[in-house]
């Protein structure tokens, strides 16, 4: 079978093919590894490629299939964001400071995927410690978006961030799916930029155990895939209560994949009027209206709603997240693991290690976080931000009393060029203006490819749901996916 065909498969289709022995997991995995070899030098989507291990896992999957044993992901090759600790495989979090770090344990989410038979191709590139919206802050170099502007096909565009490597790999068909994490939009914005589907589930749906922490009250793992159904399949394996994470929710994991086929007829869809920014491209507004029309055509009732504290989301987030990160990153001190720069005394060792190990964006956020937690500023910043966060949550709670889901753009722009927005952090931060409020509220949000802009770049629409109602999110996203009927493909892709 042609490599190009194998790498084009959806996870749902590949499961069927493996089951019917149309191809082996080894063939599937080899096709992806070959595609990685060909494209990763350009895309830089993987920091670490674990080809040998992947083939061993593929062989094990084939052996299981031969015995008639099928787990939900048996033999499916995936990319794992380099924020998930993987036992015996270097885990860098995109940072120089963890360059030599090989975890002696497997994160719960990646362990769940392995339990369900998945094959790991390698560790996906990302913004350093998941701090960024462009993948430009990675210590291992930027990731290229496989999509090109029609007018300017030479310019390398960013894949978004922080899970840029994951989104780029899935879009370029060098992985069938990928894990990501989303703190303020780190799954949804790159999904939108790369024309793939990605969901940030409800906070607490996936265990955070073994995921390098950025902002603990916001971090949440989720999947990337090329279809909504594939995301549902992956999330079904990733999710579940974990007693090792106190914030993990002890709720049953429903059949997410089944929810993708649910009718949206009769659902009430809210359109939040605050999700518009000055200078937002017309294409995005047009696509949003198109999405509304599709859902209406599918029988949903669309109503205007207001989430008045949306405008405070970004500023509040940039207090809460840095505060938590400044504390979470204190453990990277060169004493027990990771990179160490020798110093003349303990303090000197800390300063040299952290100065050499952390990039500019991480340093910026650690400083912001340290500042907002400092004596004399704590009440004015952190306490106040928590109060506003409660109001943002109340917006959602009150709105969800009236509607079943919300529809909004995922990001205020399409993918931009590498190097753009680098001069002004605030401009970069604005990328997450539409994803942050739902992160702050802990509710699920999914980006689904909905169309292309005038430059031929993908744009996503965002479906936001009630806490632990990812099923409705999947149903609505799948309806948009069906209606959009996108056939465009990224220029850089396996088999092209």
């Amino acid at each position: 079978m042609m490599a190009g065909v194998l790498t084009d498969l959806t996870i749902a289709a590949a499961r069927e093919g493996l089951r019917k022995r149309e191809y082996s997991s080894r063939e599937l995995t080899e096709a992806h590894l070959a595609a990685i070899e060909a494209l990763n030098p350009r895309l830089n989507a993987f920091i670490t490629i674990t080809a040998e291990r992947a083939l061993a896992q593929a062989d094990a999957a084939d052996a299981a299939i031969a015995r008639g044993e099928f787990a939900p992901l048996t033999g499916i090759p995936l990319a794992i964001k380099d924020l998930f600790c993987t036992e015996g495989i270097r885990t860098t979090a995109g940072s120089r400071i963890l360059e030599p770090f090989v975890p002696p344990y497997e994160s719960t989410v990646s362990a769940n995927l392995l339990r369900d038979g998945a094959v790991f191709l390698g560790k996906a590139n990302m913004d350093e410690f998941a701090m960024g919206s462009s993948n430009m802050t990675s210590a291992y170099g930027p990731v290229e978006n496989p999509w090109k502007r029609r007018q300017d096909s030479e310019a390398a565009l960013v894949p978004g961030g922080s899970s840029g490597g994951s989104a780029s790999a899935v879009a370029a068909r060098i992985a069938m799916g990928a894990t990501g994490t989303d703190t303020g939009g780190s799954i949804r914005q790159p999904a939108s930029f790369c024309g793939v589907a990605g969901i940030k589930p409800t906070y607490g749906r996936c265990s955070r155990w073994g995921i390098v922490a950025f902002a603990s009250s916001l971090d949440q793992a989720g999947p990337f895939a090329r279809t909504v159904e594939d995301c549902a399949i992956l999330l079904g394996s990733m999710a579940g209560h974990d007693p090792k994470d106190s914030t993990s929710a002890n709720v049953p994991v429903p059949d997410f994949a089944a929810a993708c086929g649910r009718d949206v007829k009769g659902l009430r869809i809210g359109v939040p009027r605050e999700y518009r920014l000055d200078g937002m491209p017309e294409d995005i507004e047009r696509l949003w209206q198109q999405g509304i029309a599709w859902l209406r055509d599918a029988g949903a009732e669309v109503v205007d709603v207001s989430l008045p504290h949306t405008k405070y989301g970004l500023t509040t987030y940039y207090i809460v997240a840095p505060a938590e990160c400044s504390s979470n990153l204190a453990r990277y001190d060169g004493v027990r693991f990771g990179k160490r720069e020798p110093g003349s005394d303990l303090r000197d060792l800390y300063e040299r290690t952290r100065a050499a190990g952390f990039g500019a964006e991480v340093r910026r956020r650690v400083l912001i976080g340290t500042y907002v937690l400092s004596a004399g500023y704590y009440d004015a910043y952190y306490v106040r931000a928590q109060k506003v966060r409660a109001l943002i949550l109340r917006d959602f709670t009150e709105t969800f009393a009236k509607v079943d889901a919300l529809l909004a753009p995922t990001a205020p722009s399409a993918a931009f060029a590498q190097g753009d927005n680098m001069d002004d952090p605030i401009k970069m931060y604005l990328n997450d203006a539409f994803t942050i409020p739902s992160s702050m509220a802990g509710v699920p949000g999914m980006s689904v490819p909905a169309g292309l802009d005038a430059n031929g770049l993908p744009l996503g629409l965002q479906v936001i749901g009630k806490p632990f109602d990812e099923e409705t999110v999947f149903a609505v996203a799948a309806a948009i996916e069906r209606a959009s009927g996108i056939t465009a493909l990224p220029q850089v892709r396996a088999g092209a």
Binding site: F84, C85, T91, A93, L98, F101, P103, P104, Y105, S107, R208, W209, G210, I211, V212, A213, A215, S216, S217, P243, K244, D245, S246, T247, A323, E324, S326, S327, A330, R331, D333, V335, R336, F337, L346, R347, Y350, T370, L373, S374, A375, Y378, Y382
Partner: protein, 483 residues
């Protein structure tokens, strides 16, 4: 007379509050499953959570929470059904995460009290401000290598209860009494072993001085004092230093100090420039700790009888004076021992024997009641031998010493040594007659009015009987014959 220090400008009162760090008795650490045994080889009881590896998360240990609640109940304190954990951020090599998980704003236990007893028999209430749970840090070993420091993370993450008192303490003696009482309570509860020499109980001492009737003046905190004696010395040394500062026209600056027991003085621990800003904020890895009221009630119903209640009962049921009851209840093992001895016997005699001969022998041998060479059962049997007149009180002392040495049964010792008391009046009469005959001159003097010679005759008879004569019968026979 209340405690006061004399300065050149008059009399000063001292004001003391104590923050006691009590290590929780639990198999596992506060937020990890690693073991907590004291004295294990370095870095053998460390989980990835304790070493703060990337992605590791804390999970609260239910037993540690139960221990804190038990302790709170033992301090007659308010139990907060909702409490919260905060992060206290600072960098140090033995603090792997760069923060300590503690309860800053919302402790698990609120206001309570401890009653202390002083040497003059008076009692005082010392207020408890709060009790909160927190993790211990690891240990830095600076003296193992000329240029390196070693880090032992065995203690990292072990549960501590920080018990904060109100500034109600007014003398070193009260501080000592408070610490002893607190230690007694946690030992009764089984929530902390109270061993200050192993570091499982440590005190930070807040000291200030003032003239009578004044509001509080600036206090200093003397950190990490590890014995009751040192706490008492540190208070006096620090108070005297502060009085000198004030009387020298200076002002005491709020700071953290260390007590140097060798030199009997405190010294400044860190300068102002090093003052920490701990940047406390709620730990996002942990949900608020919510206790079920029924669970707290269940813990309460299973609490053991605590020292104060036991003391009241000992006074009431056994008719003991307050002092004796206080001594007997200080350690649960002593109280249990005493009760076994006293059960069905004369409670006051039992108390005298436990507090007298038994304590003296334990002190002599450097033993504790737990490994007493004489069991409560054996001591009880000895008292029975006295009660039924098998032996006299004097002989009992000898038998007891033999019991301490050999651990033998008292009845067996009495039999083997032929110490059984003579109650045969005929035999006693015979000895009395012999003694009186041999001392005819003394008999004449007695009859002429020298009454106090009666004791001499008793002594002579007992001597002749090797101490085994029943004292009452000897007395009676002598009185009869001398009449």
């Amino acid at each position: 007379m209340s405690y006061a220090l004399e300065g050149s400008t008059g009399t000063w009162e001292i004001v003391v509050g104590l923050e006691v760090h009590a290590q929780v008795i639990s198999k596992a650490k506060l937020f990890s499953g690693a073991a907590t045994d004291f004295g294990a080889p370095p870095n053998t009881q460390v989980s990835f959570v304790d070493a703060a590896f990337p992605g590791m998360l804390p999970v609260i240990n239910r037993e540690c929470v139960a221990q804190a609640v038990r302790t709170g109940l033992g301090l007659e304190a308010h139990i907060h059904l909702v409490s919260r954990f905060d992060r206290k951020n600072y960098f140090y090599a033995d603090l792997p995460a760069g923060y300590q998980i503690s309860q800053y704003q919302h402790p698990i236990v609120g206001e309570g009290r401890v009653e202390i007893e002083l040497a003059d028999g008076s009692t005082r209430q010392i207020g408890i401000t709060r009790l909160h749970l927190e993790q211990d840090a690891g240990k830095s070993l600076h003296d193992q290598h000329p240029t390196k420091s070693y880090i032992d993370l065995n203690r990292s993450g072990v549960a501590l209860m920080e018990i904060v008192s109100e500034p109600d303490i007014r003398s070193p003696e009260e501080a000592g009494a408070y610490l002893r009482k607190l230690r007694s309570i946690v030992r009764y509860l089984g929530t902390c072993d109270g061993n200050m020499d192993e570091g499982s109980m440590r005190a930070d001492v807040n000291v200030s001085v003032r003239k009578h009737g004044e509001p509080y003046r600036t206090r200093c905190e003397v950190k990490n004092v590890n014995s009751i004696r040192f706490v008492m010395q540190a208070i006096e040394a620090e108070a005297k230093r502060q009085i000198e500062v004030w009387e020298g026209g200076g002002a005491v600056e709020q700071e953290t100090r260390l007590f140097d027991p060798g030199r009997g003085m405190t010294r400044s621990m860190r300068s102002k420039e090093d003052a920490h800003d701990y940047r406390y904020f709620p730990d996002p890895d942990l949900l608020p700790l919510v206790l079920d009221e029924g669970w707290v009630a269940e813990l309460k119903s299973k609490l053991p009888e605590l020292p104060d209640a036991k003391k009241r009962r000992f006074m009431q049921d056994y008719g003991l004076p307050a002092y004796d009851a206080g001594v007997l209840v200080a350690e649960q093992a002593t109280a249990d021992f005493y009760e076994m001895v006293a059960k069905g016997r004369d409670a006051k005699i039992a108390a005298n024997w436990v507090m007298g001969d038994l304590f003296a022998s334990l002190n002599r041998q450097g033993r504790t009641i737990a490994d007493s060479p004489v069991s409560a059962e054996a001591l009880g049997k000895l008292l029975d031998l006295m009660a039924d007149s098998t032996i006299s009180g004097r002989i009992a002392k000898d038998v007891f010493e033999t019991m301490v040495e050999t651990g033998d049964d008292p009845a067996a010792i009495v039999e083997a040594k032929g110490l059984r008391q003579v109650t045969d009046t005929g035999a006693i009469d015979t000895v009395v007659d012999t003694v009186l005959a041999a001392n005819a001159d003394k008999v004449a003097e007695y009859k002429a009015g020298r009454d106090k010679l009666f004791g001499f005759f008793v002594g002579q008879v007992m001597k002749a009987m090797a101490g085994k004569g029943n004292p009452a019968l000897v007395n009676e026979a002598l009185k009869r014959k001398l009449a």
